[in-house]
């Protein structure tokens, strides 16, 4: 992350993503953006705004509501040398077109014996903002399970621009999951990654970031939960727990170096995950850490997140299911007490 003393630009995360895309498209005219409402409207969250004007309707294509067709288009386009960015408006809708994602885009590099690559970005938005069970999921755990996909989710303005650029530049297919709760947030409101340079830059897709150093507990999270974790970590000082917060950024691959260095210090690992906990990120991180660093390397492991419940409509219920500052603080305090 590059935080400088310069005052942050007055842009939101959607604009940062759009800027990353714009620069990538200027740089490489094989890059296309395809999806519902990406052109005229510039995306329902604005993260493709301005692209139609800059690149015209062939490179920025508004589609009918036909996810299967336009996701599968990416395969043909990639075979023709294009680098399509396919937008699935909400990640919740992936169930209508997952087939093309995991059986084709993800596997063709392998099935072709390395002869056909698939430089495709599946760009989509996840996260809970009160929109209930079918419009609130994050589902990175689902993508992580399926081989051949890089899976990333940025947490802040700087990374959002740099990671979409890196995703477009990658020769591997990348699932790029934005967080709906972040997209309209202003850069200046971020404690970290608030500065978005105007020029092009990449944020590597496989490096986690230590967004808050600490000595007692390694808290690993990503996407919308990072800022809640930071707030909780600040509050946890009062309870005597000094939390190191790691923004994972990428769930495939996982940056074990960063996690390992932190665990070596803290000997404690708490995973905070807005996604469903079961068969997901937390199990993989805890198991992967133990595999790499040994059962004896940890005095505490824990996880906090959606326990396997569809996200309810009423806010009174949603707050019980989706991790927030308060619930993360509780998890930290429990971890602190348990160590």
């Amino acid at each position: 992350m590059t935080d400088t003393a310069v005052a942050p630009r007055n842009i939101n995360i959607s604009q940062a993503v759009a800027e990353g895309l714009r620069l990538a498209m200027e740089d490489d005219d094989r890059v296309l953006v395809i999806g519902e409402d990406v052109a005229t409207q510039g995306g329902v969250f604005g993260s493709t705004r301005g692209l139609l004007k800059a690149f015209g309707p062939q490179r920025v294509l508004d589609t009918p509501i036909s996810e299967m067709a336009f996701t599968g288009m990416a395969v043909g386009l990639a075979m023709e040398g294009y680098r399509p960015v396919i937008e699935i408006m909400f990640v919740d809708f992936i169930g209508v077109c997952l087939e093309q994602v995991y059986n084709a885009i993800a596997k063709i590099p392998y099935m072709s014996g390395g002869r056909v690559d698939m430089p495709v970005v599946i760009k989509t938005a996840g996260g809970s903002i009160g929109a209930a069970a079918q419009h609130s999921q994050t589902l990175w755990g689902l993508f992580g399970h399926l081989p051949g996909l890089r899976v990333v989710a940025p947490s802040n303005p700087y990374d959002s621009k740099g990671m979409i650029a890196a995703a477009v530049a990658s020769n591997d297919p990348v699932v790029f999951i934005e967080h709906k709760g972040l997209l309209l947030e202003r850069a200046q409101d971020f404690e970290f990654g608030a500065n978005v340079p105007r020029e092009a830059y990449d944020v590597p897709l496989d490096k986690a970031a230590v967004v808050r150093p600490g000595s007692d507990l390694t808290l690993v999270t990503l996407s919308g939960s990072v800022r809640h974790a930071l707030t909780a970590a600040d509050a946890a000082i009062l309870s005597g727990v000094d939390v190191e917060v790691i923004d994972l950024r990428s769930i495939v691959p996982i940056d074990w170096d960063t996690i390992g260095a932190s665990i070596a210090k803290t000997r404690s690992l708490l995973v905070v995950d807005e996604d469903y906990l079961g068969y997901g990120l937390s199990g993989e991180l805890i198991t992967g850490a133990i595999e790499r660093f040994g059962l004896g390397s940890l005095d505490y492991v824990g996880r906090h997140g959606n326990p396997g419940v569809p996200v309810p409509a009423a806010l009174s219920l949603e707050r019980q299911i989706v991790p927030g500052t308060e619930s993360i603080l509780n998890a930290i305090v429990r971890a602190g007490a348990a160590r």
């Binding site: 409402d37 209508v96 396997g308 219920l317």
Partner: protein
């Protein structure tokens, strides 16, 4: 409509219902302003005539599968207004106890459901239609969808299967010219959606969805075909008055278009003028009906507003009907 303007009661009911629907949507708008309603609320203001026409045909034993823009269909299916609005307002008294919210309305007894996934309601309707067939009931399965939904694979698969199986499925397409920011004309390979019915050996009819009478007649023909033969499509033309959802900046439609449509294509306004000008209902009666509808909705809104969100202790309930709970990650572990 002169011919059918013989039954004042019918027209009173129609007008009252359409006004009630309009008021219902307006009440929902207040819930967005008050932040009682979250997520993206989709209203069907401007589309009342279609739902009112549907209400004339749909029987208790019939089913109805709807979409994200579903409130008026729920009213047409005679879901009681109070639990309906309470669910939209995410209250514990809601149709689904506040768990579902406005895109996820379920009433098993009334065979009514909705989904937030475009196209996904059609297969559900197919299931209802098949149930009717194998249980020997003469019920009709209705699916109401938007113009954009026709381009989903689910539409095609459902229409083909319904036709092959000869099921009583009526698909009503509310063609409101837009699917979010994409105009109908830019998304459809055919000038009308009705004509696509022939690909399923089904009848398809386009009708003026601002005209409750014409729409009702078209739905009636579709129902008759469905009962005797197989699926049928009614494409009802209308206009989406508001942004796709509340909060949509709606900059992708020209102001000229919006002004034109909302001033010339308001089904409630048009019907009012027609009824008054034809002498069918006088100003006083119209005003009375409006007052009645407003009062009914006001009362429901006031009641809903006074109610609570579901108790947070319930959040983990109902994941499994059997009562199974499988909460993952309940506690941390120490060495």
């Amino acid at each position: 409509m002169s011919d059918t303007l013989t039954d004042a009661q019918l027209w009173r009911d129609r007008y009252r219902l359409m006004v009630l629907m309009r008021r219902f949507e307006e009440a929902c708008l207040t819930g967005v302003a008050s932040k009682e309603i979250h997520g993206e609320l989709h209203t069907a203001i401007g589309q009342e005539a279609i739902a009112a026409a549907l209400a004339e045909h749909i029987r208790d034993g019939d089913s109805l599968a709807s979409t994200h823009r579903n409130h008026l269909h729920a009213i047409a299916k005679r879901i009681p207004l109070h639990p309906l609005m309470a669910e939209i307002f995410e209250k514990e008294t809601g149709l689904c106890g506040g768990f579902g919210g406005h895109m996820h309305l379920f009433d098993r007894e009334r065979r009514f459901s909705t989904t937030g996934i475009v196209g996904a309601s059609l297969p559900v309707a197919l299931g209802h239609a098949y149930a009717a067939k194998i249980s020997g009931r003469d019920s009709v399965a209705f699916a109401v969808i938007g113009d954009g939904s026709v381009n989903t694979g689910g539409f095609h698969e459902t229409m083909n299967m319904a036709s092959v199986l000869g099921l009583a499925l009526v698909v009503i397409i509310e063609n409101n010219e837009w699917a979010i920011s994409v105009p109908f004309s830019a998304a459809s390979s055919t000038p009308t959606l009705a004509e696509r019915a022939s690909a399923y050996s089904a009848p398809g009819e386009r009708v003026d969805g601002l005209d409750v009478d014409a729409t009702s007649a078209a739905i009636g023909r579709a129902v008759a075909h469905a009962r005797s033969t197989g699926p049928a499509i009614v494409e009802a033309m209308c206009y989406r008055f508001r942004g796709h959802y509340e909060g949509d900046l709606d900059l992708y439609r020209s102001q000229t278009e919006k002004t034109d449509r909302t001033t010339t294509k308001d089904p409630v306004v048009l019907l009012r003028a027609q009824l008054r000008d034809s002498g069918m209902l006088d100003e006083a009666t119209l005003g009375e009906l409006e007052a009645e509808a407003s009062a009914e909705i006001d009362a429901v809104l006031a009641a809903v507003r006074a109610e609570s969100q579901p108790d947070r202790s319930l959040a983990h309930d109902h994941v499994f009907a059997s009562g199974l709970t499988v909460d993952f990650g309940t506690k941390g572990a120490v060495a």
